[in-house]
Amino acid sequence: MAEIRVQNLQKSFGDFVAVQGSSFVVENGEFFVMLGPSGCGKTTTLRMIAGLELPTGGEILLGGEDVTFKRAAQRDIAFVFQLFALYPHMNVRANIGFPLKCQGTPRAEIKTRVDEAARILRITHLLDKPVSGLAGGDRQRVALGRAIVRQPAAFMMDEPLGALDAEFRTLMCHELRALHDRLHATTIYVTHDQMEAMAMADKIAVMNHGVIEQLATPREIYERPATMFVADFIGSPAMNFLAFDGGLQRGDRHVRLNSLSVEVPESHEDISQQRLVLGARPEHIRLSDEGGLRGEVFGTEYLGTTQIVTVITEHGKVRARVGADRRTTVGNQVGLTFKPEKLSIFEHQSGRAIRTALYDTNLQGARHG
């Protein structure tokens, strides 16, 4: 197992710059997720690390060794694709053992290692079945088995759950994370699904237009997004953005949205008068009968545990996540109040988050175990 170090990695396809100078370190045993919309450069980055694309510039170190221009086969990396290509004429055992057979591993050792991989993935009972009759999830487990059996230095996974339906995806997320906790293999995982990233990652790199906008733990990214893009991409429903004109001075604890004064975390920067944006996650907004930001209830979405109430305000539609037992009626006037310590403020022009008390304190609490 190994640390992966990427330095100033770039890739252009003709005039199109897919990756614009990324640098990051994936520590030994880390589950590292690259997250972003299609075309953000995440898959290209992954393919360069795996050796399936050659970079235009920069270098890649795998366990301290420079592998930038080495062939994929010389990198000791296993790749799991979104569309798991299994050999249809072979049974599960032969599919999983195939990479070892190609390397000329003795038959007895192949058997031991395939059995071990199957045990880890809990598909021992399927080993002698043909792959054609398997369900989607089992096929993906076989594809994973083929990656695990090689005991590579690192795993690269390109949207491996993208082809599964929602319910199954959640289940496989838990399985993949549990698998990681057993193997402790350095893993780079690419997805556009923020739920997968939040559920599995030790660290997330959020990418946009070939640039890493933020690299941090899931919790850090969720609670202290560095940019409006990150804030918008993570969380469902997304963070609410309320635009207003104003400025800030160090020590300020309030902003003015038209006539309404809203308490915010203490500013640690001086910001000149300009267009600013208040960012509030749906669960940090409460409904109140009086006061607050007034608006009209546009709709409610019942989710069992909670409900999402959408309110039309003079700053646009605002979504609040409140308890499922709170009754609201479409068309009624309500007020919205905010949890002051959880709010973010962004510069509208650059999208950058302004440094406040929220961003400068230490996050406490548990991490992935």
């Binding site: 339906d165 929602a166 319910e167 959640t170 838990h174 994370r177 549990a178 906790d181 556009h192 699904d193 739920m195 939040m198 559920a199 733990t217 899931p218 919790r219 969720y222 609670e223 993570i234 969380g235 469902s236 429903p237 997304a238 996650r281 749906p282 669960e283 546009f298 709709g299 979405e301 019942y302 989710l303 069992g304 545990t305 999402i308 959408t310 996540r321 499922a324 479409v330 609490g365 548990a366 991490r367 992935h368 175990g369």
Partner: protein, 336 residues
């Protein structure tokens, strides 16, 4: 708009029973969502109402009239398919106008214009009306496909997972839009999906299908809080409802026939008391909430905690049940 009734409807394809003696009433102006996994009979039910499949047994009544033998065109229904199929050589406007220009129902052009403008505004595609249908994003194409159904004023709208090909963000937006449009039009709608969020957020009533049978129908809250069996209980709720063998709670009084205790994640409360051998395995940070994965005597259970809860992997906690649901050995609910 009108009410639609299925009486004892069945449909088999060779050895497979796709729809199995279903009785279902969709009231005038109601938004009914059929929920079930692949193969539960959702799409076949829609196709039976539309007349795209013939019934083996039973009847379809639309607006009080038996239409079981009628051709699809005579039933006055609108169908939105999962895969949008637009006419690529026509503009968005002409695509939307197409159903209204059909020879069987000629509508004057000025009325067509008025209708299209209304619907396009509702769906936020009014600025794209002169675009070629192929020069749209996937989300816009699907909105055109939905719009093409909505320009007509049929007896019922039938929708087959119309949002499933859209990305998560757009799906979130359109869910509420679609519900609002349905409400404004007073439309009768039957909508099928395997997505529990769509079902819970949009439906007036949810019908849960299992292997062709309608196993429960009710308002979302009823299906969520008061399921008839384990199958229905596991259809709704993220994370899944915890299903725990009764013997793990020796101190809780239960109906004698109870084999399994079902507890929604928000109803499994943790406390610091010692006693129960529950150990925190893993904490999943999902931002708005944390999922706590707990090992209870070798059984995995999940509960919700606030993000600021001071808990760590390895901590031993006690569990308390709130509103537990009891199921017998067949999975049927035991109501107290």
């Amino acid at each position: 708009m009108a009410d639609v009734v299925l009486h004892n409807a069945s449909k088999t394809f060779g050895p497979v029973t796709a729809v199995d003696h279903v009785d279902l009433t969709i009231n005038d102006g109601e938004f009914v969502v059929l929920l079930g996994p692949t193969g539960a009979g959702k799409t076949t039910t829609l196709r039976l109402i539309a007349g795209l499949e013939n019934l083996d047994t039973g009847r379809v009544m639309i607006d009080g009239r038996d239409v079981s033998g009628d051709a699809p065109a005579l039933r006055d229904v609108s169908f939105v398919f999962q895969q949008y199929s637009l006419y690529p050589h026509l503009t968005v406007y002409d695509n939307l106008a197409f159903p209204l220009r059909s020879p069987t129902r000629r509508v004057p052009e000025d009325e067509i214009r008025r209708k299209i403008t209304d619907i396009a505004t509702m769906l936020h595609i009014d600025h794209k009306l002169q675009n070629k249908a192929t020069r749209l994003s996937g989300g816009e194409m699907q909105r055109v496909a939905i719009g093409r159904a909505l320009v007509r004023n049929p007896k019922i709208y039938l929708m087959d997972e119309p949002l499933s090909s859209l990305d998560a963000k757009l799906r979130n937006e359109l869910r509420l839009e679609l519900k609002r449009i349905q409400h404004e039009l007073g439309a009768t709608m039957l909508y099928v999906t395997h997505d529990q969020i769509e079902a819970m957020t949009m439906a007036t009533r949810i019908g849960v299908l299992r292997e062709g049978k309608l196993v429960q129908i009710g308002v979302p809250r009823e299906i969520y809080e008061d399921p008839n069996d384990i199958y229905v209980a596991t259809r709704l709720g993220q994370p899944h409802i915890n299903l725990i063998p009764r013997n793990l709670f020796p101190d809780v009084a239960m109906p004698p026939a109870a084999e399994t205790v079902g507890v929604r994640t928000e109803n499994l409360l943790i406390s610091r008391h010692n006693g129960a051998a529950a150990r925190i395995d893993w904490i999943e940070h999902l931002g708005d909430q944390n999922h706590l994965h707990i090992d209870l005597n070798g059984h995995k259970v999940t509960t919700l905690v606030q993000p600021d809860a001071q808990l760590d992997v390895g901590d031993v906690v006690a569990l308390e049940l709130q509103n537990p649901l009891y199921f017998d050995r067949t999975g049927a609910r035991l109501r107290g």
